[in-house]
Structures are given as structure tokens and as C-alpha cells.
């Protein structure tokens, strides 16, 4: 039942970790300069497309980081993290829809899809959607509360391992069906799109996009440092103990429920925040984000990079999504072959992911150098 225990050599020294954080910070600051300050023709100029792609992947990286906390460090594989990501995205999307105001196709106070459905007033769950503060609260509360309630019932009855994975998959599948319906009031299968502005400023101008980009980068770094603090704390050690031998943790007097529930809810909230940052940058949110396939992809980012390494899932998110954008542009029909092969290869040959591979090579190098 246990996941493959990672070799317990430290991956990086404390200075190394600081270096990683600084490197991420530098990237977050350098990219805007390269995009905005360097003129178009220059070699160092970054295109808007590259910036948008990097911003998007950073949101995915937050999800992968959240997945690492719950899967890599606690041994609980969630196949429903896409749901929390989408819920955060929808909370942000509702606010963005209201920000369109009367600039929609129908010049109505209501969002276009409601006019199209011939609704006369906003449904109850849209009541405070024009308040930025309220919707930002929802970005955290909706995924958090859902995870709390669902996790409480699931962990209380000790649903674990594969059972838990399958039930989370069913959860996101059911939610997708619900959001596909027009009656739910979330735009049906088209979701939300055509955003015009964010807190009063136009959303498509380079400066807004850059602010969002830097914000995403800072959130990623913040979450990374937080996750690092968690996994090195006593709390984090209990989580890893739960992963390796849950019954022994119980026998020594700990109640795993509170620990699992806390990290599970935190992980869901991180995904919600990632979703909220994703929607204004990508400009669309629809129920497709809740499909079981989207959730299982988050797991593969973490697995490709290397579970229980924190930096691995971020690397994995960049690697897999970078490959995805390259494949879908150059040879779209081969993307699914590649992704499928990646799933198989990583589970068969790289149980510790790319980062683990680096570690292996380094140890090998040391061994050869030693004698």
C-alpha cells in the first residue's frame, strides 16, 4: 500500500534551498523586464505568448505543489484536485463576469449567458459577486469548506489508498456534470469568458498581465516556502509517518484524522488560489477543468518531477506542460501518445521522478569520485 519511500538523503542543503527560492524570485522579476523593457526585435525579448504560458504553468505548479503535500508527504493520492482548482477559478470568474458590466453582447447588467437563458435577476449565489473582497474570500472558502467536509467524512471512516482516490475522482466527475448544466448558474459548458477588466483596470493590457504574472510568481514562492516550513516541522514529520505506516502512528497515540484533514484542506485551498490566478491570465474557465483527466494530470506532474521533494512537482509541471505546448503546436496527434508513455515510463523507471534521477546521478558521481 505504501508509496515507494524516497531515499532519505537531503536533496539540497539549506543554502541550496535558499538558492532555489532566490532563483524563482529572480525569474519572476526578470521575465517582466525582458517582456516589457526590452524592445520587440531584441534577442532577449520575451513574447507575450511566452509570458502567458509561463504564468499559466506557474498556476499549474502551485497545484502540483499542493498535490505533493497530500500525495508525496502524506501518501494520499487525490484524483479530485482539479475540482478545487476549478472552484477557485469559478469564484474568480464570477467576479470577472460582473466586472464586464454592460459591455457584454447584450448590454445588460446580467452576464451574457443569463440573458441568453432569459433570466431576469441574478441567482442567489451571485448576490455578492460584484464584491472583489467577497469573491476572494470565496476563492479560499469554497474549496476549503468542501475539502473539509468531504475529508472529514472520508478520513473518519478511514477510507484510504485507492478507495479514497476513486471517490475523489467520482466527486470531481459529479461536480463536472453539475457545472455542465445551465440551471446551476455557472454558464453551462461554455463556462465564463470574454473578461474585460479586473478591479476596474482593463485585463488585456500588458501592465495588468504583468502584475498577475508577478503575483502568481510570488504566490508560488510563498507557497513553496510555506510547504518547506510544513514538511520540516513536527507536523510534517507526523504526515510522513502517516504515509509510511498509519497504524503505527495511531498506536503511538496520534490521531491521524486531524493531521490528514488539515493538510488535505490546505492543499485544496492552494489549488483554489491557483485557479483564481489562472482564470484572469487564461481568460476562460469551464467545467472541462473538472474532468477526471485534468485532475489525474496534476498527479502526473508531481510524479514526473519527483514526489516528496517539493521542487520536483514544480519542475514536473514545467516539464510536462512545456512538452504539451510544444507537442500541441508541432505534432498534436502525438501528444496523447507522449503523455501516456510518460505515465508508464515514470511509474516503471523513475519512481522518484526527474529530481530523483538527478540525485541518483549525483550519488553515482560521488561514489566514482571517492575511491
Amino acid at each position: 500500500m505504501m508509496s515507494q519511500p524516497a531515499p532519505r538523503t537531503t536533496l539540497l542543503s539549506p543554502t541550496g534551498w535558499t538558492a532555489v527560492a532566490i532563483a524563482l524570485l529572480v525569474v519572476t522579476l526578470v521575465v517582466p523586464v525582458l517582456n516589457l523593457a526590452i524592445p520587440d526585435g531584441s534577442v532577449f525579448h520575451l513574447s507575450d505568448y511566452a509570458v502567458a504560458l509561463t504564468g499559466k504553468i506557474m498556476c499549474y505548479a502551485i497545484c502540483a505543489l499542493a498535490m505533493d503535500l497530500i500525495w508525496g508527504y502524506t501518501g494520499i493520492l487525490s484524483l479530485g484536485h482539479g475540482l478545487f482548482f476549478a472552484l477557485g477559478g469559478y469564484a474568480m470568474g464570477m467576479y470577472l463576469m460582473r466586472q464586464i458590466g454592460r459591455d457584454g453582447n447584450y448590454q445588460s447588467d446580467l452576464p451574457d449567458f443569463m440573458v441568453f437563458l432569459d433570466w431576469k435577476a441574478l441567482p442567489w449565489h451571485w448576490a455578492w459577486s460584484d464584491s472583489f473582497a467577497f469573491q476572494m474570500l470565496m476563492v479560499v472558502l469554497v474549496p476549503g469548506l468542501l475539502a473539509l467536509v468531504f475529508g472529514f467524512f472520508a478520513f473518519r471512516s478511514r477510507i484510504k489508498g485507492v478507495y479514497f482516490s476513486i471517490i475523489t475522482q467520482a466527486l470531481t466527475f459529479a461536480a463536472m456534470l453539475l457545472f455542465f448544466r445551465n440551471e446551476t448558474g455557472f454558464g453551462g459548458n461554455n463556462g465564463f469568458t470574454d473578461f474585460k477588466r479586473l478591479v476596474g483596470t482593463p485585463i488585456a493590457v500588458p501592465s495588468t498581465r504583468m502584475v498577475l504574472f508577478v503575483l502568481t510568481g510570488l504566490v508560488l514562492i510563498g507557497f513553496f516556502l510555506m510547504a518547506r516550513a510544513i514538511v520540516t516541522s513536527k507536523f510534517g514529520r507526523v504526515l510522513q509517518a502517516i504515509r509510511d505506516a498509519e497504524s503505527r502512528v495511531m498506536f503511538t497515540g496520534y490521531d491521524p484524522l486531524a493531521y490528514k484533514l488539515a493538510i488535505w484542506t490546505l492543499s485544496a485551498v492552494m489549488c483554489g488560489v491557483a485557479g483564481a490566478l489562472y482564470v484572469p491570465q487564461v481568460g476562460i474557465i469551464n467545467p472541462g477543468e473538472m474532468s477526471p483527466a485534468a485532475s489525474i494530470e496534476i498527479a502526473i506532474w508531481a510524479a514526473v518531477g519527483g514526489r516528496a521533494t517539493l521542487i520536483g512537482p514544480i519542475v514536473g509541471a514545467f516539464f510536462v506542460n512545456g512538452a504539451k505546448s510544444w507537442f500541441t503546436q508541432v505534432v498534436p496527434e502525438f501528444w496523447l501518445y507522449f503523455l501516456g508513455a510518460l505515465f508508464i515510463a515514470v511509474t516503471l523507471f523513475l519512481p522518484n521522478g526527474l529530481v530523483g534521477l538527478v540525485g541518483q546521478l549525483r550519488r553515482k558521481g560521488k561514489k566514482e569520485a571517492a575511491p
Binding site: I159, V162, S165, I166, A170
Partner: protein, 529 residues
């Protein structure tokens, strides 16, 4: 076509002329001139005498071939004109008026032409006429026509349809007394169409007379109470049908997951392979053995089993072998396999759904009640599911292979010590699970769409069945599969498809709270895996 109609018209006209004024000049004039109410009434009256000449005349009116002069009603055929009643040739005066038909008149004429065919000697022609009449809006004035047809009709099915049509006309009559009588008569019916008719009349504004309204309500209650058993049985049947499909899908999983502990996310894609194998067999039969097309299913069943089992054996040998005891890893790896399989099928057969046709003996159904027809293909799948279930149960419980599979499941090392080749048993068992998935795909191809995404829609449901039923238990799988199917359909009738799915999910999560090991938990120490 035009020539044929002309010949027919001429023949009828000649015959009409010979048989002593079947259609009088007054009748013809009444149908061709005046206001629409009067014309429809005249048409109905004329139809009551069921004159064959009327059919030709009504057709001529529909073709706009009738002209009026102050003295005569003329039917124009090309350059010549004949008198409508006598059939005698006549000259067409220059001042002859065209007869103009509005839509209502046209409908009435079409109904009249169709209803005259109700008296045809060929039952097939009569059935077609009834079907056509059911589509055209009828008027009270046409009642005599239907009465006449009803009196002559011998076929029970057509008679029932005509009776319903007649009641439908009467219940919308302008005379409240007739409406009342009709409403009471409709209460005797046991047909769902009558229920729809009554509900239509009870809708706001359709019926104003309070006495008739209450009679309608009473009739509706009577009909509904007669229909209610058919409806209940229908829900139970569709539930069992869905349950049997879930059972077929889950049986394979019960072996790969329940016995071997392998989470096979590619199970749905193995079903898809079975369905595509059926498609290929169907195409081969169509191309090379068109005479035996009806029997292609008999070959498709073993072929789909073998195709899926072969892919399953390849999967086990190449990937799953290395992942035993690490269920989360098998989950990811088999998901990867499922992506590759889906994309391969897209490359080979295209992304569109492919058509799989039922053989003729699987199309149609058996009518159990007026509002309940059980399709043969679904009945066949229910039977098939239980056959496969019996086969698997026998295989596991009674054969040497089954003994080995159970032995390896319970204690791999001990089984190996006793000389069981555990690696080979793993391959056989996994191929068996995959083959059963292929059988499920073959069955599904008979009721649903066959496309690259076929497996995706069943995978979540089928894992639910296995989880609910309890791991390693065939009995649990059966109860859970059928139970979930029926529950799903019951809730669907009450709350709609999506809410029903969500409610089922909630029921499962709550249920697992109470019995974390499923319906039929394994007893003893093996429970804590």
C-alpha cells in the same frame, strides 16, 4: 407519377361516371365553394358515404385542378376538363374561377384522402393511412369518416388507434355534452397516448366547462392508475438493464482489482477494444457474408473477448507485472495505457463514432403493457450478463485455474511453494478480466454509441460498483451492480439524470461510512490490506 395519377384519375372518373352519379353535383359544389366551415362539413358528409370518386375529387382539389363555373364544377386535366360529378367531358369556359384552399381546408382534404384509404382492403395501406391521419389535425366535421372506417376495421391494433382518434376528436368537440361523454369514455383506456391527450385538454384554457373538467380529471386518474404499473415496471426494467451493463463492466474489474489488487484505469478502453472488435466483425460479415449478417454477433462475442484479452495479456507482461503491490502506481500507469489505447483507436478508426447495427433478431421488442415495450437487445444483454457471471463464478470456484487464482490471491509465496507458476497465473487472470471487459464492450455496442471515448463514461461507475460491493467478492459485485442500476434509474425519474448521479455518489460515500469494506466484507485478517 403525374401520368400515373392522371390515368388513375381518368379511370376513377370513368368508373364514377358509369356507377350512376356516386358524387352528386351538389356535393361537389358544396365542397368546392363557400366558406371553409361549410366546405369541411360537406367533405365530411360526402366521406361518410365513402365514395371512391370522392378520393379522386379531393385529390384534384388538393392539386388545385378544380375550377368553378356558375353551372358546373369542373376537374381540369391538362387541356381537357371533365364534370366533377358525371365525368362527362366539358369545355372549360374562360371565366371559370379557381378554387382556393386555405391551410385548414388542405388539412381536411388530406385527412379525407387518407381516411378514404382507411377502407382499403390491404391492411398495410390502412395502417399507413392511420399513421398519416394521426399526424394531420382533425376536425369534428370529419368524424363520420372515422366512424365509418371504425365500423369496417377488423384489425384490433388499428381499431384501437381509430377509437383513440375518435375520442380525441369528440373530447375537443364544440358540444359540451359530447365532450363529457368522450371524457368518460376515455377513462376506460389504458394507453399512455390517452393520458397525454387528457393532460393536454386539462391544460390551462383548453377546457372551460367545469363538469367536463372534472370528468376529464376523473378519467385522467383512472388512466394513470392503470398505467402506473407499466411505468413502474419500465423504471425497474431500465434499472436492471443499466445494472446488468454495470455488472458486466464490474465483473472484469472484480477480477483485476478485487482478486489481483490492480487498479486498471484502462478497463474502459479494453471495453472499447471489445466494441471495436464487434464493429470490425460486423463489417467483415457485411462485406463477405451478407447472407449471414444476422449471425455476426455469435462470432463477435468470442472475437471481442480474445482481442481485449490479448491486449490485457500484453499490458500485464509489459507494465503491470512490475507494479504488483503498488496500487497507486498501477493506477497512473494504466491511465497512461488508456491514453495510448484511445489515441491508437483514433488513429486507426478516426475520432468519430462508428455505427454498429443490431442484427434483425435483436431489434424490436416485446410489448408487455400498452406503455411498456422491452427491447430485445436489452433483454439479451441482461441474459448475457448473467451467463458471463455464471461462467466466471464457475471458473473461479470449480476449475483448476480458478483454484490457482484464489491461491495466489490469498498467499502468493505459499502458492509458489506448492508449485504454482504465479507469474503465469497473473497473466491469465488479468487477461480474463480484460476479456470480460471486451465482452462488456461487445454488449454495449448493441445499445449505445461506439467511439474512442466509450470506456471513459463507465469507468467511474464501475469502480463505484466494485467499491460498494466489497473487494474480492463476486456476490457483492452482483448486488452492487444491479442495486446501483435500479437506484440510479429510480432517482433519475424523480430528480433528473445529473442530480441522480450526484445522489448516488452521496449514498455511496455515506454507505462506506457505515461499512468501509463494502456490502460483503471479507471476514478475518485479510480485511486489513
Amino acid at each position: 407519377m403525374q401520368g400515373l395519377r392522371l390515368l388513375l384519375g381518368l379511370a376513377v372518373a370513368l368508373w364514377g361516371g358509369a356507377s350512376a352519379h356516386a358524387l352528386t353535383a351538389e356535393q361537389a359544389r358544396a365542397m368546392a365553394s363557400g366558406d371553409t366551415d361549410a366546405r369541411v362539413a360537406a367533405l365530411g358528409a360526402a366521406a361518410a358515404t365513402a365514395d371512391p370518386a370522392l378520393a379522386a375529387f379531393a385529390q384534384a382539389l388538393l392539386d388545385d385542378a378544380v375550377k368553378l363555373t356558375p353551372a358546373l364544377v369542373l376537374v381540369v386535366k391538362g387541356d381537357t376538363a371533365v364534370d366533377a360529378s358525371t365525368g362527362a367531358p366539358a369545355t372549360l369556359p374562360a371565366d371559370a374561377e379557381d378554387v382556393v384552399n386555405n391551410n385548414r381546408m388542405r388539412g381536411a382534404l388530406q385527412a379525407a384522402v387518407a381516411s378514404l384509404r382507411l377502407l382499403d382492403t390491404d391492411p398495410a395501406v390502412r395502417a399507413a393511412a392511420v399513421a398519416e391521419l394521426a399526424k394531420t389535425p382533425l376536425e369534428e366535421a370529419q368524424l363520420p369518416l372515422i366512424d365509418k372506417a371504425l365500423a369496417a376495421e377488423a384489425d384490433a391494433g388499428l381499431k384501437a388507434q381509430l377509437t383513440r382518434m375518435r375520442a380525441g376528436l369528440l373530447v375537443a368537440s364544440s358540444d359540451p355534452a359530447k365532450r363529457l361523454a368522450a371524457a368518460q369514455a376515455l377513462g376506460e383506456s389504458d394507453e399512455s397516448q390517452v393520458k397525454a391527450l387528457l393532460m393536454e385538454r386539462l391544460a390551462d384554457g383548453a377546457e372551460t366547462d367545469p363538469a367536463v373538467r372534472s370528468a376529464l380529471r376523473v378519467a385522467l386518474d383512472q388512466v394513470s392508475s392503470r398505467l402506473v404499473w407499466g411505468e413502474r415496471l419500465g423504471v425497474v426494467f431500465t434499472g436492471i438493464s443499466l445494472g446488468s451493463i454495470l455488472l458486466l463492466v464490474a465483473l472484469g474489474l472484480a477480477i483485476t482489482y478485487g482478486l489481483m489488487g490492480v487498479i486498471n484505469m484502462a478497463h474502459g478502453e479494453l471495453m472499447m477494444i471489445g466494441a471495436y472488435a464487434t464493429y470490425v466483425v460486423q463489417n467483415l460479415f457485411r462485406a463477405h457474408l451478407p447472407g449471414a449478417f444476422d449471425y455476426y454477433v455469435w462470432l463477435a462475442v468470442p472475437v471481442s473477448f480474445l482481442a481485449a484479452a490479448l491486449v490485457g495479456a500484453l499490458m500485464e507482461r509489459s507494465v503491470i507485472r512490475w507494479l504488483y503491490g503498488r496500487p497507486l502506481e498501477t493506477l497512473l500507469a494504466t491511465w497512461g495505457i488508456s491514453l495510448v489505447l484511445m489515441q491508437s483507436v483514433r488513429t486507426l478508426f478516426g475520432a468519430q463514432n462508428v455505427p454498429v447495427e443490431n442484427p434483425s433478431w435483436l431489434s424490436g421488442g416485446v410489448a408487455v403493457a400498452s406503455n411498456l415495450t422491452l427491447p430485445f437487445n436489452r433483454i439479451a444483454i441482461i441474459g448475457f450478463a448473467f451467463l458471463v457471471l455464471g461462467g466466471v463464478a464457475l471458473l473461479i470456484a470449480r476449475t483448476r485455474l480458478g483454484l490457482f487464482v484464489r491461491g495466489v490471491t490469498q498467499n502468493r509465496r505459499m502458492a509458489a511453494c506448492m508449485g504454482v507458476n504465479t507469474a503465469r497465473i497473473d497473466t491469465y487472470a488479468f487477461s480474463l478480466g480484460a476479456g470480460i471487459a471486451g465482452l462488456a464492450g461487445c454488449a454495449l455496442s448493441q445499445v449505445g454509441n461506439v467511439g474512442p471515448d466509450l470506456g471513459q463514461s463507465y469507468i467511474v461507475d464501475s469502480f463505484m460498483v466494485v467499491v460498494l460491493g466489497g473487494v474480492g467478492q463476486l456476490a457483492g459485485t452482483v448486488v452492487a451492480g444491479l442495486g446501483l442500476g435500479v437506484l440510479n434509474k429510480l432517482l433519475e425519474g424523480w430528480a433528473g439524470a445529473v442530480l441522480a448521479k450526484i445522489m448516488v455518489l452521496v449514498v455511496i460515500v455515506v454507505f462506506i461510512q457505515k461499512r468501509p469494506q463494502g456490502l460483503f466484507a471479507m471476514k478475518g485478517r485479510s480485511a486489513e490490506a
